[in-house]
């Protein structure tokens, strides 16, 4: 497998290649013209995370005006507009009714209004939203994961290439890449402080996330969209939606992507109708090109022990990393090589916007996160393919998988591909039987 450059090398290289400056004008014919030197922002996907990302954009202090919003649901859009407007006011928030776009196609219209877009819809929509934003030549912040199946990943990888060609900045909310304990530890790992990384363990074990109950007036499409965490075309399963963070850290430490995945998973405790089709646990090994193996474990079991962190073993020492600002590297005698100071650390969710917007206001091209995000998302999808099928999955066959989870038609009265059985329960994968690619 081809050795991939580190993000650091990559960013350095791309900044050198482009020499920095973008075309000075972001103007789109016919769109609302914001005051001079103000960057126009559109929010696509108005949930709590998208709203939070708009706050972080404004909190960079750069001249930004929110000019358009889009969501499939009008109530979600209004619920997001209200706190944004209350906090930042009319000078920064200029989203009259005619630029609040609702429905499945809303994203296209909102993207057209802006210079910069935040893409924060459920992950299943990311490939088409990202593709459209790149097609329209916008600067992009998008949330992770970036797809839910191989078809979506291929779309994102193609658009990532186009974004590079167009010199569009793309930052992805795999925020550990913008968190100092990870950056400092990875720098040392890649400089050889632990020797070769020969093994590791990455975890997201906790009690699970929210559930939205079905209401009588909802169509099947609306119900799945509201309760999106439990449907694979929208979420990708928790191994993709959540554990992608830790899997991405493994790829970062290994400086590459695994060649195969094998493992097991199922529905042990989260088995209700409202829990759709996703598993509640996946336990895997990912094998990399050099034969090293990373163990990956994610589960949503309330009452059981929690663990969300990453550990790695190298020929010279070991590492302990977590989102709680841990970054501890020790040699095999227990001597500390590096121990990150956990106090007064920047908020990584803010840091990713600080860095992106600093580049944008200077017209610089610095960020190309989409390719790594797509490949780390693909790693998690490959893991799901392995636990769902019970088979050993290779990178190549996974990436070329032809099973497309997305509905043929997006409309409130159209049917998603996975539907409840007569008893109200959804069919879920059966290892040994289910076809995933």
């Amino acid at each position: 497998m081809k050795k991939n450059p580190t993000r650091r090398e990559f960013v350095k290289a791309s900044a050198l290649l482009t020499g920095g400056l973008l075309a000075p004008s972001f103007l789109v014919p016919g769109a609302y013209a914001a005051p001079q030197n103000t960057l126009k922002l559109a929010l696509i996907g108005c949930g709590g995370r998208g709203t939070g990302a708009v706050f972080q954009a404004f909190d960079t202090g750069h001249p930004i005006q929110l000019v358009a919003m889009a969501d499939a649901f009008g109530d979600r859009l209004e619920g997001s507009y209200k706190p944004i407007f209350e906090k930042y006011g009319k000078d920064k928030v200029n989203v009259p009714q005619e630029r609040r776009f609702v429905g499945f196609d809303a994203y296209k219209k909102a993207i057209a209004e802006a210079d910069v877009v935040i893409l924060a819809s459920p992950p299943g929509f990311r490939p088409s939203h990202f593709e459209e934003a790149v097609r329209q030549g916008k600067q992009i912040f998008m949330e992770k994961p970036v797809a839910t199946d191989a078809a979506g990943i291929r779309k994102v990888l193609a658009a990532a290439e186009e974004a590079k060609a167009k010199k569009l900045n793309v930052v992805v909310g795999l925020q550990r890449h913008y968190q100092n304990n990870y950056r400092e530890s990875m720098k040392r790992i890649q400089d050889g402080a632990l020797g070769d990384i020969v093994g590791g363990q990455v975890y997201w074990n906790d009690g699970g996330v929210w559930v939205k109950q079905r209401t009588p007036e909802q169509t099947e499409m609306e119900y799945q969209m509201r309760n999106w965490y439990y449907f694979n075309w929208l979420c990708g399963d928790h191994i993709v939606e959540q554990h992608v963070h830790n899997i991405d850290v493994a790829n970062w430490a290994k400086n590459g992507y695994p060649v195969k995945a094998e493992g097991t998973g199922g529905r042990a405790v989260r088995t209700g109708k409202e829990h759709g089709e996703i598993f509640d646990h996946h336990i895997l090994t990912f094998t990399y090109a050099d034969g090293s193996v990373i163990h990956s474990e994610c589960r949503h079991f309330p009452g059981a022990a929690n663990r969300v962190d990453e550990t790695f073993q190298g020929t010279k020492g070991k590492a302990y990393l977590s989102a709680g600002n841990h970054g501890l590297l020790t040699d095999w005698k227990g001597n500390v090589i590096y121990d990150h100071d956990r106090k007064n650390q920047p908020n990584p969710y803010q840091q990713e916007h600080d860095e992106l917007w600093a580049a944008l206001v200077k017209g610089e091209y610095k960020f190309a996160d989409a390719e790594n995000a797509a490949k780390s998302t693909m790693t998690a999808i490959m893991g799901r393919y392995a636990t769902y099928s019970g088979k050993v999955m290779t990178w190549e066959e996974s990436l070329n998988g032809q099973v497309d989870l997305f509905p043929d038609t997006l409309a409130w009265d159209a049917l998603p591909k996975v539907l409840p059985k007569d008893d109200g329960y959804y069919p879920h994968a059966i290892p040994g039987k289910t076809k995933v690619i």
Binding site: T51, G52, P83, K87, D206, G207, P302, A305, N347, Y349
Partner: protein, 330 residues
């Protein structure tokens, strides 16, 4: 108690009406209490916690150390009797509250509808144990609202009015009759016998009750987790505090008082009279807007301890205490 804002959403109204009915019934699951130590079992589960009696009495609250102006003036306070948990609330009970489905799964004989109807915390996306473990360890990271709603849930499950301590009750209980800095005297050298703090905790919470208790039988009053009390924090409150059952009722979301210090607190900041307060920065890394009413993702050191007044307030007051609506936090 505080009601923030004037708007009561319809679903909340429905809940309030339901609760009102419930409160008027004042369901007598428990006979008139005998004022002695007891073990509270959560019905249908093997989870229980202890409560010990703290007699009515008077004490000198605060300190005269000029380095700590918010602990002054030292003033006399009289308190009615109450029970207090000898231990901080642990995940064993708190997790049943935070995950309704989990509660239903492990409760034999089912969960009563009145309990089922209670709004629960948003399940935290982040690991709110922060890698520090659950069994026997204090529940951490909850907001004061979350702590009060845990009491509400206990009330619906047991019929007993549990609440947070007032700041005065907490200090009275911590002192256990001592007028020194610590309940064991002035000299901090034996602190490690009684407390998990920066000097011995390895920067993590520890199983409750593994250090010696104070003379009234309360464990971990110093260190382990900083404990919620009811009061709004005001540095000058002691200069105007009433003498009988004082309470500084909250009108703002921040700052509220907490007491006792935690596993990361240095010896210099521990003692019966030290006051701490909540900080919005504890929600800084919550990536969602509105920020969670329930969780402080950067406060792994905040926990809670229960109190039960010997004479419970009226059903109306209980209802008011449990239905305080927190200010929305952007």
């Amino acid at each position: 108690m505080y009601f923030h804002g004037d708007v009561v959403p319809a679903d909340l109204m429905k809940r309030i009406l339901g609760l009102l009915l419930l409160s008027l019934m004042s369901f007598q699951l428990n006979p008139a209490p005998v004022f002695e130590a007891y073990t509270q079992t959560l019905p249908g589960t093997s989870v229980s916690f202890d409560m010990i009696p703290i007699p009515a009495g008077s004490f000198w609250m605060g300190s005269s150390d000029p380095s700590f102006p918010d602990q002054q003036p030292r003033h006399q306070v009289h308190l009615d009797a109450f029970w207090m948990g000898p231990h901080e609330v642990t995940w064993d009970a708190f997790e049943l509250f935070l995950d309704k489905q989990y509660e239903q799964t492990i409760t034999e004989g089912g969960v009563p509808a009145r309990v089922d109807a209670l709004s629960r915390p948003s399940l935290p996306y982040l690991d709110m144990t922060f890698g520090m473990g659950k069994e026997g360890k204090p529940a951490v990271g909850m907001t004061q609202y979350g702590a009060i709603q845990f009491c509400h849930w206990l009330y619906l499950k047991t019929g007993i009015f549990y609440r947070l301590p007032t700041e005065a009750e907490w200090e009275y209980a911590a002192r256990a009759g001592s007028e020194e800095r610590f309940f064991f005297g002035k000299d901090p050298s034996s602190l490690g016998d009684y407390a998990w703090y920066a000097g011995n905790s390895q920067q993590t919470t520890q199983v409750v009750g593994t250090k010696k208790p104070n003379p009234w039988g309360l464990h971990d009053m110093y260190g382990n987790v900083t404990e919620w009390v009811i009061d709004q924090y005001a540095p000058d409150f002691y200069s105007k505090s009433p003498a009988n059952n004082p309470l500084n009722r909250g009108t703002k979301l921040y700052p509220h008082c907490l007491r006792g210090g935690n596993f990361a607190t240095a010896e210099a900041s521990l003692g019966s009279s030290f006051r701490e307060y909540s900080d919005p920065v504890w929600k800084r890394i919550d990536p969602q807007i509105p920020k969670s009413q329930w969780w402080f993702p950067e406060a792994p050191f905040v926990g809670m301890r229960l109190v039960r007044p010997l004479i419970p307030p009226s059903p109306e007051e209980i209802f008011a205490y449990y239905t305080q609506v927190p200010i929305i936090d952007y």
